[in-house]
């Protein structure tokens, strides 16, 4: 990345004509609202078990049917959104914070420090995200926190690599040189000039990555390494219902669709953002 990415706010007007991105943004707002308002939107209390109403197909009382112990599937999907979005937000916050800090330092400092940081980054990048998360999730106690830690450990290097390359190109700009000559201390230069310029590509990457994190988290839960009963989590719901797919499809189909829709929304928005912020954009 050698070009100056334009600041986000100047690109926003250009973003609007992209119907794809707008569509993604609307979807995300809906998904977030549904998750945040789950306690009010949900037709039933989260853990209400009605043994007599097991595996009811979708109906007026239970739009998405009921599961194998008689819980309302729609209710659990709404609450599951909270779990998924919380995991995604936590993973991205942790990895962006760690990754960008290291990356900006590496990119600005250059030299040996940069080499060391980048080699460590390479090591982590050599593990496909799901795999290292798998290994970590196995050795730690399964649970939401483990999922967050396991995914964050594999995710931060991407931000390091991204922000290091941006920071390195900004560190050679005349105005940064000037600031250095004036004796402005390095931390201040990083804070004032290098960091703000690195943020735009990172924001785009965050949006693109949110979908991937949600998919990875769901996969870990599906393998039984993530969220545990009675937490409502989409991947877990798929796993628990998988043997029922033929006979009671709604138990599995709706949680899967929820994952698909959420990941899709983030991917669409991320693609749109990337397109709008890319100066070489092809319309």
């Amino acid at each position: 990345m050698t070009h100056d990415a334009p600041p986000l706010r100047r690109s926003l007007p250009r973003l609007l004509p992209d119907r794809f991105a707008a569509f993604g943004a609307v979807l995300i707002v809906l998904v977030v609202l549904a998750a945040v308002l789950a306690p009010w939107l949900a037709p039933y209390p989260l853990d209400e078990v009605r043994p007599l109403e097991r595996l009811r197909p979708p109906s007026a009382e239970h739009w998405f049917g009921t599961d194998q112990v008689g819980r309302d599937v729609l209710t659990r999907i709404l609450y599951g959104g909270r779990t998924s979005l919380f995991i995604a937000a936590a993973v991205l916050a942790v990895s962006a914070l760690a990754g960008v800090t290291l990356g900006v330092v590496a990119g600005y400092a250059g030299g040996r420090l940069r080499d060391v940081i980048m080699r460590v980054t390479d090591v982590f990048l050599a593990f496909p995200a799901l795999l290292l998360s798998l290994a970590l999730a196995v050795v730690l106690q399964p649970g939401v926190n483990t999922v967050i830690l396991a995914i964050a450990v594999t995710w931060w290097p991407w931000y390091t690599r991204l922000s290091a390359s941006v920071a390195a190109s900004i560190a050679t700009r005349p105005y940064v040189d000037a600031a250095r000559c004036l004796g402005v201390p390095a931390p201040l230069i990083i804070l004032r000039h290098v960091l703000p310029n690195s943020l735009t590509p990172v924001l785009v990457q965050l949006s693109l990555d949110a979908g991937g994190v949600i998919l990875t988290a769901a996969a870990l839960s599906y393998l039984g390494l993530g969220a545990q009963e009675p937490t409502a989590e989409w991947g877990l719901m798929v796993q628990q219902g998988q043997t029922l797919f033929t006979t009671n499809w709604w138990v599995v189909a709706f949680p899967g669709l929820a994952i698909l829709l959420t990941a899709f929304a983030f991917n669409v928005l991320g693609e749109g953002l990337r397109g709008a912020l890319d100066p070489r954009r092809v319309r």
Binding site: D122, A126, F127, L131, L134, A135, A218, L223, G256, V282
Partner: protein, 338 residues
Amino acid sequence: MLRHLARRLGQALLVVAGVVVLTFAVMRVVPGDPAVAFAGPKATPEQLAAARERFGLDDPLPAQLLAYVRDLVTGDWGISLRTRQPVRDDLALAFPASLELVGAALLLAIAVGIPLGVLAARYKTKFPDFGVRLGSMLAVSVPVFWLALALQTLFAGALGWFPVAGEYDARLDTTSPLTLWTNITAVDALITGNWPILTSTLHHLVLPALVVAAYPAGVIAQMTRAALIEEAGQDHARMGRALGFGETSVLTRFALRPALNPVLSLIALVFAYALVNGFLVEAVFNWPGLGRYAAESIRSLDTPAIAGVTLLVALVYVLVNLVVDLLQGLVDPRVRVR
């Protein structure tokens, strides 16, 4: 050129070293006491001590790490706690099956993704473009395990068009036994002319390969589209138009080959992702590959086996990256497209 090669090789070796250390750290340091894992929760103190002795767990960590590296290099990847077989032998059986699945999936993804990308670029901003963008976006957003379950239920369960699980019909092992060469069933069946097993394997491959192919196909279609649109704006595409070629000819006969360069390096990178994504699919379709091996190892907390899988995949990943990197460094991607 030689310097570039040496540099990249050096970096790759460094990464491999890091990978080994990290795997060691995750497997030996984090879980607390591996002796308990080996000897079981009801082990007597004497049994525990014996286990500690056997694995050198009382040695200082650097010494343990050194011993671990020495074992790895000499080909001792540990003994699986579950199968009680050397992990290396288990991997040698499971990895080819995964390769078979991922290879088939990538071929499928290329065969579908590139034409769709061309179609989208040809009708940029029109309906086909919209359709391909939407479809590829869905393909990269779908949870693979769920797609696997859905296709299995629909096409294998309800419609019965394809087998539900497995790599080939096990009864064929008695009627037409397979001679192993590469451990990749389809390839071995092909070179030994074992048609019953070959057709059975291909039949079993369809559904899992489709699922694994979804993500790469989506990414390849998107990349092909973007690269083609970029190429179509270049002077040589303009020249093609100025020579009277129609837009489709300009794209497929002049722009496509240079545009494939970034797509090809992308395919190499998607390979590793597909391999791990394949894990989930293997679990659903009971495909006898690394994924199923990993899933079973996870269930029985078989740390040596999990470490082996992790290490193997990371090594493959480093290798693939190195090859892609060297190919790109060897040749100017702009020029060398023969």
